[in-house]
């Protein structure tokens, strides 16, 4: 589903002395099928933004369009439930939201609420479990006996079982060990392709944004600060520094090499082994790439 924001603002506790503008005059388009990373500091408005995408918040000004659904300040959306079945949000630490006796029941909770038939639910539960790479034998176990990483996968399976078209991920790898982080991101990459999803990743990790996203949006103080492909955005060292963000480590290192050696080496999406080869050539004196 295409997503677009037109001059969207959201103010918490509007018309009270506690009024607080969380996002201000934001406009952007996300074409269906994109993998977008939203990056910005705590308090930059990322969480407020994503809550508009399934109508948990309604803009206080402007218009949000998700497929054929429209959210504005004036009108209440009638088919809110339908929208929510199409946009799945995986919140931070989603495992804290598990509550059922068994993994199967927990995964089924979403589809059940959206009125999916029992037989279909069973089919989807099995599929969702497979999608998050958990063994089928796990269905009858209590989710609370599982490891943190497994619990998180169960929670994600619950979102997938609703079969959303848009998947929103809020810091999905927080607290996982390095392998867990990588496995989790690879899983989302695969789901994105296989299911033809539109994926929106909220992250503090410049490295993940660089590797997985095809479009990056930087937020600062409730406004869109910059957007573009990772290769365009992440080389703008000065601009990023102004909003207290660092460029990804591989690009930082390339900049430092350029200060030391007379070379036109730049970041063009190379992997670490490829960069090593380039560095080999530069240090041996083949200065120009």
């Amino acid at each position: 589903m295409d997503i677009s924001f037109k001059n969207v603002s959201y103010t918490y506790q509007l018309n009270t002395p506690f009024e607080h503008k969380a996002i201000e005059d934001m406009s952007f388009n996300i074409p269906s099928g994109s993998f977008v990373a939203i990056v910005g500091h705590t308090g930059s408005g990322k969480s407020t933004l994503i809550q508009h995408l399934n109508g948990l918040l309604q803009p206080t000004a402007g218009e949000v369009a998700i497929g054929s659904y429209r959210l504005t300040a004036e009108k209440k959306l009638k088919d809110l439930k339908e929208l929510r079945s199409k946009v799945g949000i995986v919140f931070q630490y989603p495992e804290h939201q598990l509550f059922e006796e068994t993994v199967a029941k927990d995964i089924a909770f979403g589809p059940l609420n959206f009125g999916v038939e029992q037989q279909e639910i069973e089919k989807r539960t099995a599929e969702a479990l497979k999608a998050v790479q958990l063994p089928e034998g796990m269905l009858e176990r209590s989710p609370f006996e599982l490891s943190g990483g497994q619990m998180r996968r169960v929670a994600i399976a619950g979102v997938l079982a609703v079969q959303p078209e848009v998947l929103i991920l809020d810091e999905p790898t927080a607290g996982l060990d390095p392998r867990g982080q990588k496995d989790m991101m690879e899983m989302f990459k695969r789901l994105h392709k296989q299911e033809g999803l539109t994926t929106i990743l909220v992250t503090h990790s410049m490295e993940d944004a660089l590797v997985y996203a095809d479009h990056v949006m930087i937020m600062d103080h409730g406004r869109k600060y910059m957007e573009g492909s990772p290769q365009e955005v992440f080389v703008k060292k000065e601009e990023l520094k102004r909003v207290d963000l660092d460029v990804p480590e591989i690009i930082q290192f390339i900049f430092k090499v350029r200060e030391m050696f007379p070379t036109d080496l730049n970041y063009h999406g190379q992997t670490i082994p490829e960069l090593a080869e380039e560095l080999g050539r530069i240090t041996r004196g083949d200065i120009h790439e």
Partner: protein, 279 residues
């Protein structure tokens, strides 16, 4: 050189009688002035170690000595004066309605006299750079500021050791940097043992020594440089190595001679420069 401040002797722990062992025959020592990182995959027993250190849990087998005292019901209160803990979630560790109330809480519990309390309050808040926030409400602070206040609360009870149990995991890059800078400056002024439990590999490069846990056992104890030279094995146990160590690995595979195992940008750049100068 410090003395052995924390000592685990053949410690085993499990959460229930029919449950699997979370820690199995774990032994190590931490010196009174040492900075240690404990790393390991999720479920490897890292946080359990932290909870055993200050008596939140007690082991079924083995002994734990803190400053020469065995951790048990009789010593637990004495030991908690010696060890402060900062946990992962900045929102779960506040009790006071203002920053100063919160920092004072631990001191009040220990009956620190008022004059002394005021002095320590000021000292500990300035140690973490939060002296201008005394009257602010904790929940209005940023994640990094909240964790700094939590560290101030711990410093105020003048512990001999501080355990940071994934204290930076929920923070954004700015917050992480704030905490690491704070810790480094605290470490410089106070000779204490510092135990960082973390998944952040760049944090690990800063410490004196690393304890690597795997499936409830101590897998390796070594300097960060030695630990990160074992890339293949680390990947096998669910861990990883920092970007610079990876890049250095590929460079030496291509035949570039690197003298040390570089861990920082500067170290690797220096190696590149040396190699270049010899060409």
């Amino acid at each position: 050189m410090g003395y052995n401040f924390i000592e685990f002797k053949n410690v085993s722990f499990r959460y229930g009688e029919n449950m699997p062992w979370v820690l199995e025959n774990v032994s190590f020592q931490i010196k009174s002035d040492e900075w240690i990182a404990i790393i390991g995959h999720n479920g490897s027993g890292k946080s359990t170690i932290a909870k055993l250190m200050n008596g939140l849990l007690s082991p079924q087998k083995g002994t734990i000595l803190i400053d020469g005292m065995e951790v048990n019901e009789d010593t637990i209160w004495e030991i908690r004066k010696k060890i402060g803990m900062v946990f992962q979630n900045p929102d779960n560790q506040f009790v006071g309605t203002t920053v100063q109330d919160d920092v004072a809480f631990g001191m009040e519990n220990r009956g620190v006299p008022r004059q002394e309390m005021l002095k320590r309050l000021e000292d500990s808040l300035s140690a973490v750079g939060m002296q201008d926030y005394e009257l602010r409400e904790p929940h209005r602070l940023s994640g990094g500021q909240k964790q700094r206040v939590a560290i101030a609360g711990v410093l105020a009870i003048s512990p001999q050791a501080i355990i940071l149990d994934e204290a930076t995991a929920m923070l954004d890059p700015n917050g992480r940097k704030e905490i690491m800078d704070t810790i480094r400056s605290v470490k410089k002024k106070h000779p204490l043992s510092l135990i960082t439990i973390t998944h952040d590999l760049n944090e690990v490069t800063l410490v004196d020594r690393v304890i690597v846990m795997n499936k409830g056992k101590v897998w390796l104890e070594a300097s960060p440089r030695q630990v990160f030279s074992r890339k293949k094995e680390l990947l096998e146990i669910g861990l990883d190595i920092p970007f610079i160590a990876k890049l250095a690995g590929h460079l030496s595979q291509q035949g570039m001679p690197l003298k040390n195992e570089p861990l920082s940008h500067e170290e690797l750049l220096e190696e590149l420069w040396t190699y270049h100068s010899k060409m």
